[in-house]
């Protein structure tokens, strides 16, 4: 009997040790970035696991740079516009794909899924030409346009999944009442779909906020960059002396909003990710 108790205690200890290791593994790098960003530059090169004295010097240094502030503005502008466009186009498409039976629907679904698997680099030269033709090179407009390629497919995909889950009776009632499809969509489905829209909007926002390849390629000047590019290009006197303090401060600044969003909306994000992949 005591052996069994011992075994269960050991199992419990093992389980909690595993949980601790996994949490540490997941959280430590970000924690360490915060620690580094709060150190005065004199202590930067002594490894320590916590901060002895908090120093906001690095944050002041980053936030006093006009180019970094411009990058934050650009990132917000691009991400918000991308979310709005993706939701508008995605919602109408999701109604058609999720609610109406018609020839070619499977084809359209295949196209959407196919586009979501495009390697970004495969459209780089063609998209560069489109952006330059539309005179959007080195402007947020070019990024908003190009980000549609990866936000639109998964927005359509996830919203379609959610749209299909709603009961038929809702729409039948609207049809019998003679409501047009547009009225049905905006008055019947939209109010019920807002949780799904929050989910997809969040995923689109995160994807746009984090994007790097297009932002790096389609912008040229410091004032037009987005945050990831700005951080990637922060450099010091030479390749070997990067200003790690300010880099970590900038990293924390752009990551904290995302971490907060994820912690608040984790349930929604999980449901969105699984709806996009598993049920697709």
């Amino acid at each position: 009997m005591s052996l069994r108790m011992l075994k269960s205690i050991l199992l419990k200890i093992g389980f909690w040790a595993l949980v601790a290791v996994l949490v540490l593994y997941a959280v430590f790098p970000f924690y360490y970035a915060v620690v580094t960003s709060l150190k005065p530059s004199s202590e930067l090169f002594e490894v320590s696991y916590w901060v002895d004295s908090i120093d906001f010097f690095n944050y002041a240094a980053v936030l006093s740079q006009p180019t970094f502030l411009a990058a934050i503005r650009n990132s917000v502008l691009v991400a918000v516009s991308v979310v709005i466009i993706a939701l508008l186009l995605g919602l109408t498409a999701a109604w058609a794909l999720g609610r109406v039976r018609f020839r070619g629907r499977t084809m359209v679904m295949m196209i959407v899924l196919g586009v979501s698997m495009f390697p970004q680099v495969a459209v780089l030269s063609g998209l560069f030409e489109v952006i330059r033709t539309l005179d959007l090179y080195n402007s947020p407009g070019g990024l908003i346009l190009s980000y549609t390629i990866f936000t639109l497919p998964f927005t359509v995909w996830i919203l379609t999944t959610f749209m299909r889950q709603l009961p038929d009776e809702l729409e039948e009632a609207a049809i019998v009442d003679g409501a047009s499809p547009w009225i049905t969509l905006t008055k019947v489905f939209m109010p019920l779909l807002w949780p799904a829209m929050v989910t997809t909007g969040l995923l689109a926002f995160i994807a746009a906020w984090n994007e790097f390849l297009f932002a790096l390629t389609f912008t040229l000047t410091d004032t037009q960059r987005t945050v990831p590019v700005a951080i990637a290009l922060i450099s010091g006197g030479s390749q070997y002396e990067l200003p790690w303090g300010p880099i970590m401060a900038a990293s924390v600044i752009v990551t904290v909003p995302l971490v907060v969003l994820v912690v608040i909306f984790q349930r929604r994000i999980v449901s969105g990710l699984t709806a996009g992949a598993v049920k697709g």
Partner: protein, 336 residues
């Protein structure tokens, strides 16, 4: 107010509000006729609603892809996209006192190999770790929500930022990883993780595994939570060891979800760019197909050659996608 309306909608079935009385389906015949008319109207509306999305996809995906294919057959350069001349398959392979072109470039083959190696190792590690994390999150314990939120953090951090954080932790002189390893006594001289050609690929894999494991874990967790609990009760009553239960019952049941996660991750890994660009830049030891193509396109301004590399990458990913779609075709037709 709109929500109110929709909540009421089902019950409105019984009592039609005024003004629309004539269209009330009173008999079977008119109802059916009206049904087909409504149906036709709905199909028209469906295409109308799809048009903006299809135009959007055509502008940002379809047309640019065609242009990339075309550029790959020309000598286009970044400064003169318009004045490109058709040169056939010379960007891919040409004999001119020796073989030239991408298919004859050892660096291209190295980047193909690097990409495959990176994909295989990182996705395998993510699958194993993802299942472990999912099993932990599926257990009932205090603070599970908090632990799940913690697990999501790596996923939420922008790739560029996570690459920078790891670059700092892996720094050869001041990095905490070397400090830890030296402290434990595993190494006796600091390792230069990102500069040493034999280590840099592992550094990249480490970052990618850290960042992508949550995604795999979440998909597997969703599958775990849908498993019927009765077969576990039965197994426990029969005294079958948990390890055996995992390999005989759980793993087969979550395999479909795990496969979907693995394929999504594999497609992502095959086109990997950000992590590597930030961590090791254009170093040959970690060069992947995306890095190779972009370097040709942007840094060497050789749009023709770079487009040819992009086209080859597209072909490889298209092949994987087609196999996936073929295997998962039955999923698409289902539902409504």
């Amino acid at each position: 107010m709109a929500a109110q309306e929709s909540n009421d909608a089902p019950s409105e079935n019984a009592r039609y509000p005024g003004g629309n009385g004539s269209s009330r389906p009173s008999a079977e015949g008119p109802h059916r006729e009206r049904g087909t008319r409504v149906r036709r109207q709905r199909v028209r509306a469906a295409w109308l609603f799809l048009t903006p999305m299809l135009i959007g996809l055509a502008v940002v995906a379809g047309w640019p892809l065609m242009r990339t294919f075309w550029f790959s057959l020309t000598d286009a350069s970044l400064s003169s996209l318009g004045g490109a001349q058709f040169i056939g398959f010379e960007n891919y392979l040409v004999f001119d006192n020796g073989w030239y072109g991408i298919l004859a470039d050892p660096l291209w083959w190295q980047s193909v190999w690097n990409t495959l190696y990176f994909t295989l190792i990182s996705v395998s590690l993510e699958a194993v770790l993802g299942v472990i994390v999912a099993m932990v999150l599926n257990a009932r314990f205090r603070g599970r929500t908090l632990v799940r939120a913690a697990m999501l953090i790596p996923w939420a951090i922008p790739t560029v930022v996570s690459a920078k954080i790891w670059a700092w932790m892996l720094n050869d002189q001041f990095g905490i990883i070397n400090h830890m390893l030296l402290g434990v006594g595993l190494i006796d001289t600091p390792l230069s993780w990102t500069a040493d050609a034999s280590l840099s690929m592992w550094a990249v894999i480490m970052v990618d595994v850290w960042k992508a494991t949550p995604f795999v874990a979440l998909l597997v967790l969703a599958a775990l939570q849908m498993l019927p609990s009765d077969c576990y009760e039965a197994a426990r009553v029969d005294g079958i060891s948990p390890v055996k239960v995992f390999f005989r019952v759980t793993l087969p049941l979550i395999t479909p979800a795990l496969l979907v996660a693995v394929i999504f991750r594999a497609l992502d890994a095959l086109r990997v760019f950000d992590v590597i660009y930030v961590l090791t830049s254009n170093a040959a030891s970690t060069m992947t197909m995306s890095i190779y193509a972009r370097q040709q396109l942007v840094e060497f301004q050789d749009v023709g050659y770079g487009s040819a590399a992009s086209t080859l990458l597209f072909m490889i990913i298209a092949l994987v996608t087609v196999v996936y779609l073929y295997l998962g075709r039955h999923r698409l037709g289902g539902g409504k």
